[in-house]
C-alpha cells in the first residue's frame, strides 16, 4: 500500500483542530489511564503496609529468602529499558527510522531479560514451596504469618510481570509499525504513549524492589 504524505501535513480526525490537538488529546487519555493504573496497584501497596505493620518479624524473616541480587539485576535491566524507550521516542521525534526500530527492539529484548530473571526466581520458589496462601509448603520459617509475605510477593510481582508481558506485546506491535515507517516527527503518538506506559512499569518496579527485596 502506498500512502502519500505531504511534508509537515498529516491527516487527523475531523473533530480535532490540528494534528497536535489530536496528539494532545491522546496524551490526556494516556495520563488518565496511568492514573487508573496507580489506583489499580494501590490496594497491593496498602495490603503490604498493613501486614508489614502487623507482623514486622514475619516480614523480616521472609524477605531474607528473596535474592536481592536478582532484584537489583532486574532493576538495572528495567532502568536500561526505560532509557532505550526514551531514546526510541527521541528517534521518532527526530525522524530517524532505523534508530526507532533499534531502540524499540532493545527495549523488547531488555523486557524479555526481565522476565527470564523473573522465571528463575519464580521457579526456585515453586521448587522449595514458597508459594502463596494454601500452596505454601516451605518448612524453614518460624513465624506463623510468614506465608503472607509470599502471597503479597506473588501478587505484586505477578501483576507487575503481567504489565511487562502486555508491554512486550504492545512494543512488538509498535516495533513492527516502526519498521513499516509509520512514525516520524509529524506522527509518533503511539510511540510516545507506549513510552509513557513502559516508564510507568519501570516506576512500579522502582518501588517494588526496595519494598520486597531490601527493607526486611
Amino acid at each position: 500500500m502506498s500512502e502519500t504524505r505531504t511534508e509537515g501535513v498529516r491527516h487527523f480526525a475531523h473533530h480535532f483542530k490540528s494534528a497536535f490537538h489530536e496528539f494532545d488529546a491522546c496524551k490526556v487519555g494516556m495520563w488518565l489511564f496511568l492514573l487508573q493504573e496507580v489506583l489499580f496497584f494501590a490496594p497491593l501497596f496498602v495490603g503490604y503496609a498493613v501486614y508489614r505493620a502487623l507482623y514486622p518479624e514475619a516480614w523480616h524473616e521472609a524477605s531474607h529468602l528473596l535474592d536481592w541480587k536478582l532484584g537489583a539485576l532486574n532493576t538495572v535491566v528495567l532502568i536500561c529499558s526505560s532509557f532505550t524507550m526514551a531514546m526510541g521516542v527521541h528517534a521518532a521525534q527526530t525522524g530517524r527510522k532505523n534508530k526507532i526500530v533499534l531502540n524499540l527492539g532493545l527495549t523488547i529484548l531488555l523486557a524479555c531479560c526481565f522476565l527470564v530473571v523473573k522465571y528463575f526466581e519464580y521457579s526456585h520458589k515453586v521448587h522449595v514451596g514458597l508459594l502463596p496462601a494454601g500452596m505454601f509448603t516451605y518448612e524453614g520459617l518460624q513465624h506463623a504469618k510468614s506465608p503472607l509475605f509470599f502471597s503479597l510477593y506473588f501478587m505484586m510481582t505477578g501483576l507487575h510481570g503481567l504489565h511487562v508481558l502486555i508491554g512486550i506485546a504492545v512494543l512488538g506491535w509498535i516495533w513492527s509499525r516502526a519498521r513499516r515507517g509509520d512514525f516520524g516527527p509529524d506522527y509518533y503518538t503511539p510511540v510516545e504513549l507506549t513510552g509513557l506506559y513502559w516508564h510507568f512499569v519501570d516506576l512500579v518496579w522502582i518501588y517494588l524492589f526496595p519494598l520486597l527485596y531490601l527493607v526486611g
Binding site: L34, L39, A53, C80, Q93
Partner: protein, 110 residues
C-alpha cells in the same frame, strides 16, 4: 456587522512538542543506576527503621527522575500534571487512613 471569528494562530499549538535531549536522557539513566547502587549499599547497613525511610526516599527520587524526564512531565501541560499527581493524593489517603486504623486500633479498643 458579521464579525468573522479567526482561528487562534496555529503556531501556538505546536509549543507542546518537547524533545528530550539525548544527553539529558543519558544523565537521567546514569543517575538512576547510581541511585540503585546507593539504595542497595544502604540496605547492607542495619539502621532499624531508618532503612525503610532511606529506601523510600531514594525510590521517590528515582520515581521523580523517571516521571519528570523520561515521561516528560517537566515539559507537559498542567492538566496532565494534575491528572497524574492526583492519583498519588488518593493513594496517600488510601494508605494513610488504613495504616492509621491498623496502628491505633488497639488504643481505641482498650
Amino acid at each position: 456587522m458579521s464579525q468573522h471569528k479567526e482561528h487562534p494562530p496555529e503556531h501556538a499549538e505546536h509549543k507542546g512538542h518537547h524533545i528530550l535531549p539525548v544527553l539529558t536522557g543519558a544523565k537521567v539513566w546514569i543517575a538512576l543506576l547510581i541511585f540503585t547502587a546507593i539504595t542497595v549499599a544502604a540496605a547492607r547497613f542495619d539502621m532499624g527503621n531508618v532503612n525503610f525511610t532511606v529506601a523510600m526516599a531514594i525510590a521517590t527520587i528515582k520515581a521523580f527522575l523517571v516521571v519528570l524526564f523520561f515521561m516528560g512531565m517537566k515539559y507537559d501541560t498542567n492538566e496532565n500534571r494534575i491528572i497524574f499527581f492526583s492519583s498519588f493524593i488518593f493513594l496517600f489517603i488510601f494508605i494513610f487512613l488504613t495504616y492509621s486504623d491498623v496502628l491505633f486500633r488497639e488504643l481505641v479498643m482498650k
